[in-house]
């Protein structure tokens, strides 16, 4: 199945793009998806404890199972003013 991943702020700079599609086989949870994302962009992992993740526009707590076509947004905190 295909997951649509959105990256914001510093994460976008690291990956060089704000949107990408990650293809996964069989079942996949948000945690598994994050691992795949970190394999693609190792520097994103340094944000692991600070980033908030939203699945289909809802921020999630903990881990959840994903389904085909889900949109997963990774949002690091931003402090600029």
């Amino acid at each position: 199945m295909k997951i649509n991943v959105l990256l914001f702020a510093s994460l976008k700079d690291i990956a060089g793009k704000g949107q990408l599609e990650i293809e996964v086989e069989g079942k996949c949870s948000v945690e598994n998806l994050s691992k795949k994302l970190y394999e693609l962009y190792p520097k994103v992992e340094s944000f692991d404890s600070s980033v908030r993740i939203a699945v289909n526009q809802e921020f999630i707590e903990g881990d959840i199972e994903l389904k085909d076509g889900d949109e997963v947004a990774y949002l690091p905190p931003v402090s600029g003013g």
């Binding site: 914001f8 510093s10 704000g18 404890s49 809802e58 905190p77 931003v78 402090s79 600029g80 003013g81």
Partner: protein, 475 residues
């Protein structure tokens, strides 16, 4: 017939802390639902109605998200399962009138049914506190003053700098070097001479935050660092004030309303700050000048909506804006039932040391014993003396194109860990960036990686320009 009435947080003390009261009513009208509510919770009465028995002007009743004032008022019909909400406007209770000068000035508001003369009076009776008058505070203060709010407080301790003018539209070239508050007061007074302005030329701190915030109806957070963001959030929660939040980075902006009507606070979204140094500031990462204009005016819009009590606020939502693609997205934020400050049994009930919480002070103290620093003047003397030095510029590629100290080696900060082998452990390494902050972190990292002859250039290229080479541009 069964009906639910949502009670706003300030009135819940009169409903045994219930956020929703379920009622069984006989007649299907808003007024009969309110009557039944008051029978059950008598004390609410004096908060909803005035002495003459009329609904107070700052109390809005919403039927399934529509203000009943724009329907049939208290006679509006109800059907099974409808939800009524009591939404008090933020400011209120102070009777104000508008004179002809104000009626002419605000005519474009007055002729809109959503604002009308009542809404304009609420704006006049309201007070807003702006924390930080930078990229976000400049546009929001201009529009709030223009909209006719009665009283504005501004907290900022900074001085106008050349590099501010790319986005801080309150200030002009002639203001460079003056305190921001002085320049802001001049411009805002000219824009709205009737608005009271209260200036706090100081850093918002755990000592003064609650007292200052308690004096205002709405807080607009335009700060530029994590410790102050957490301080503003916690103080707003403790004082029961809505926090209109905006934040920017390069092309990305975020807007929300925190701690409003039982909604989430900033800590429900980010319970802990990121480790120091992980998230670059605007001074490090840059920001498109017009972006704070967009985000700051959105904050002003939200503040005005809260005060007038119109529309739907961004409470419980985080609006994300990407100026490069012009994508706008709203994400839903839920209140965290275990939130350390705004949950029912909060772990924190008073302000803490926010520099410490965000690891800012701790890091400086821990490393300061071990880090060698050199001033630009001493470095110049060593270069002139012909000492064998390696000058390592750790800034981003784009910055090296603006200026660079002659004879430098360039490795961007992010690449240092993977390019350590390019550095000679046995020569004196001088690390520099723009201000000395990023290079401090790199110096500390190199020291931990076994480099003993490494020093940080104190004050970076800014200090080099000020004390050694005035021809070097400051940016």
């Amino acid at each position: 017939m069964n009906i639910d009435i949502r009670i706003p947080s300030p009135l819940r003390r009169y409903t045994d802390n219930q956020s929703t009261v379920s009622l069984n009513i006989e007649e299907p009208s808003v007024s009969s639902a309110l009557e039944s509510l008051l029978k059950k919770h008598e004390e609410l009465g004096r908060h909803l109605y005035d002495e003459d028995g009329a609904l107070r002007s700052f109390v809005n009743i919403y039927l399934n998200n529509e203000d009943v004032r724009f329907g049939d008022g208290l006679d509006s019909n109800l059907k099974e399962g409808d939800e009524l909400s009591i939404i008090p406007a933020i400011a209120g209770g102070v009777p104000v009138t508008l004179d002809n000068w104000e009626i002419s000035r605000y005519s474009r508001h007055l002729i809109m049914p959503e604002v009308n003369i009542e809404g304009q009076k609420k704006l006049k009776a309201s007070s807003v506190l702006l924390i930080g008058i930078g990229g976000l505070g400049c546009p929001s203060s201009l529009y709030l003053a223009a909209a006719g709010i009665g009283r504005m407080g501004i907290v900022d301790f900074d001085v106008v700098d050349d590099s501010n003018l790319q986005r801080q539209v309150l200030f002009g070239t002639s203001d460079v070097g003056s305190p921001k508050l002085q320049a802001a007061e001049k411009r805002l007074k000219d824009l709205n001479p009737r608005m009271e302005i209260e200036l706090y030329q100081e850093r918002l701190s755990s000592e003064n935050a609650r007292e200052i915030i308690s004096k205002y109806d709405v807080v607009v957070d335009g700060t530029d660092n994590f410790p102050t963001r957490y301080l503003v959030n916690d103080a707003c929660v403790f004082e029961g004030k809505p926090n209109v939040y905006g934040s920017i980075f390069r092309f990305d902006g975020q807007v929300s309303v925190f701690n409003y009507d039982g909604g989430p606070c900033y800590r429900c979204l980010y319970s802990e700050p990121p480790p120091p140094g992980l998230v670059p500031s605007c001074a490090e990462g840059g920001v498109l000048g017009v972006l704070p204009g967009i985000i700051g005016t959105m904050q002003a819009t939200e503040a005005i909506k809260l005060i007038v009590g119109m529309g739907e606020s961004l409470s419980g939502k985080l609006l994300l804006i990407d100026a490069l693609s012009m994508d706008f997205r709203k994400l839903n934020i839920k209140k965290n039932p275990d939130c350390k400050v705004c949950s029912e049994n909060p772990e924190l009930t008073e302000l803490i040391d926010y520099d410490d919480f965000c690891g800012v002070a701790a890091q400086t103290e821990e490393d300061s014993d071990k880090i060698d620093e050199i001033t630009p003047v001493d470095l110049k003397a060593r270069i002139d003396n012909g000492d064998n030095l390696v000058l390592l510029d750790i800034r981003e590629e784009v910055e090296t194109k603006i200026c660079q100290i002659e004879g430098s080696v360039h490795i961007p900060m992010q690449e240092i860990p993977s390019r350590l082998s390019e550095l000679d452990m046995h020569s004196d390494l001088i690390i520099y960036c723009k201000s000395g902050e990023r290079s401090y972190a790199v110096t500390s990292f190199l020291k931990k990686s076994g480099f003993n002859r490494v020093s940080n250039l104190y004050g970076g290229t800014l200090a080099w320009s000020e004390t050694v080479d005035p021809t070097m541009p400051k940016y």
